[in-house]
């Protein structure tokens, strides 16, 4: 876990470093009454939203980091700050030892950004034309272009999409083509904002496998946001969680599970007429003799759980697995909403 850049490490070891960054936005507030309209003309009401509140973290080169948080927590704002699209109110941002705001054009030669809800492809041209456009705009050498094109065609299975117009691609195909285009210039750091948004199971699978592979093989640093926590857990080793503009958690997924109570899902298949009973277990569902419980292993150690189950009559099968990360996170968000502090 790395919340701040340690002083004994060279700054070039970091792909990303954010120090005491604060970013606020102003929102206009209006009501629809007659008085409200007049009041708005004289003295408009504004509300200041703190998207990031004195945020500090660092990411080492080659890390695969999930950046998560509830809606409006400040995820996209962070991505835009790292990409030089926004200026912070205060604090320092460094990506590959470059300032995104002051050295944007140099940084963009080494950074790749992809927003799931927008495309960089030329809409009314075949995909290959967008790739060729990228080659010229980024000044990619012929050799690198050929090599990377061959790589993305193989890994992202886009060979049959190259001659298709971008506007005629499905969402999953479009995402793959966008990802291929982003990788042509060998980015050292990749920022992905909701890359799995709207993708079906197969397309999502392909994207996750591909990202894991380029992270491992090419030592590319990847920072990814998603609302799908299961996807994030599968992709990333480290999770940074942001809530109300502050870093609320920074660590591994297993650490995240342990601080939220080490929830475990226990599925028990019973013979007809038998009902299991587990102390400290929360019954989630029962259907055709299959009973599902949530058990907090911090309160009921696995040995006690197995001991209880061995004494239950009519048990045909037992399956113990980790609770879905979505459930863990949902509990965390609820705690944050209710103002409950967790020990991170």
């Amino acid at each position: 876990m790395l919340k701040k850049a340690p002083t004994d490490m060279c700054h070039t070891d970091f792909a990303v470093s954010i120090n005491n960054v604060t970013k606020t936005f102003t929102q206009w507030q209006r009501d629809n009454t007659g008085m409200g309209l007049i009041r708005n003309l004289i003295k408009p009401e504004k509300q200041t939203i703190t998207a990031l509140d004195d945020v500090t973290f660092a990411i080492r080169k080659g890390e695969f980091v999930a950046y998560a948080g509830p809606n409006g927590a400040g995820k996209s704002t962070t991505m835009k700050l790292l990409g030089g699209m926004l200026l912070p109110n205060s604090g320092d941002i460094s990506v590959l030892s470059l300032s995104p705001q002051k050295q944007r054009t140099i940084l963009m030669q080494r950074l790749g950004i992809l927003f799931g809800n927008r495309t960089e492809l030329w809409w009314d041209h075949p995909v290959i034309q967008s790739l060729e456009w990228k080659k010229v705009v980024w000044g990619i050498s012929d050799e690198m272009y050929k090599k990377n094109l061959a790589m993305v065609i193989e890994l992202l299975h886009i060979g049959n999409l190259l001659k298709t117009f971008a506007r005629e691609l499905s969402l999953g195909q479009r995402m793959r083509a966008d990802l291929a285009m982003m990788l042509l210039h060998n980015p050292e750091v990749i920022l992905l904002d909701e890359p799995t948004l709207g993708l079906d199971v197969v397309a999502k699978r392909q994207m996750i496998d591909f990202l894991k592979r380029i992270n491992k093989d090419n030592v590319v640093t990847i920072i990814v946001t998603s609302h799908d926590m299961d996807d994030l857990e599968e992709m990333a080793e480290r999770i940074l969680m942001i809530s109300a503009g502050k870093i609320a958690f920074d660590g591994s997924f297993s650490e995240l599970r342990s601080i939220t109570g080490n929830l475990t899902r226990v599925a028990i298949t019973m013979e007809q007429g038998f009902i299991p009973k587990i102390e400290n277990g929360n019954l989630l569902s029962s259907n055709n003799g299959l009973f599902e419980y949530d058990v907090d292993l911090a309160k009921t150690p696995v040995r006690d759980l197995l001991s209880q189950l061995s004494e239950v009559e009519g048990v045909r099968d037992v399956e113990i697995k980790k609770a879905p990360i979505e459930q863990v996170i949902a509990g965390l968000y609820r705690d944050w909403d209710s103002g409950k502090k967790i020990n991170v």
Binding site: F25, T26, T77, K80, G83, G84, M85, L86, L87, Q101, R104, T105, I106, L107, M108, Q109, I113, N117, R118, T119, E120, W122, W123, D124, H125, Q129, E132, W133, V136, V137, W138, G139
Partner: protein, 284 residues
Amino acid sequence: MGVKSAFKLKRLISLFAISAKMDLVWLFRDTKFALTAILADTISNLSVVSSVYLIALRFGGIGGMSVDEVLFMMAYSTITTGIFILFGSGNNIHISRIIGRGQLEHLFVQPLTLKTQLITSGFSPFTGSGNFIIGCILLAIAINRLHLEVSLWWITLLIIYILATMIIIVARAYLVSSVAFYAPVAAEEISSTAIEGTWQLSTFPLSGMPSFIQIPLLTILPEGLMAWFPSLCLLGKPPLNLTEYFPLAYALIIALAASFIFRKGLNYYVKKGSNRYVPYGFRR
């Protein structure tokens, strides 16, 4: 020329070249529709200038300008319109569309300065050159009919005036587009409204009009500088006892004002961000 400058020039040429190639590919992708679009565009622009020319023909000139002088002015106007279409096909001149739709971020992710992107991204020599070519033909006809002495200095002056007119058009577009930084939805189309809304006025010869009409149209709303004033300067008859350098001075002032206001707006954008994003209309 230093190595750095040569590299920059080479890069600029390659960016123009890729825009040109994509324009050509787009044209050949669907020639029938592309040719129809070019034809419609040309007819539409020609009809604007020909209506004025027909009036001049019917009444033997307009406000002291002969029919051939009016033709010269129409040619000048068609050339500037042509250059506008030639370099501005990607909303890079009607920048309020990009700002208003929250699409500036597509420019920020490219490893090029905004200036370079905006200069090169709208270049469309194959689909957008119709007006420019017709304007050049009309200019040749007008020069021939007016028996103008075309020297190297005169051609230089012509290029300088056309450049000044283009600077005024682009600067005005960027000046009004800056509103879109603050009101993205309301001002998304402000650039096209400001330019195209008064385009017809810019093709009308203002000679013979009272000065209370002429002066505002050379200052507040510079339609008189789009074709009328520079044409008369090139014909050796600068109107209103104004110096023939007036369009150049105006171009300089409006360019400086636009640069200042636009930078201020851009600064506001990167501080506040845009809460609007429209996925269409950024690239064709």
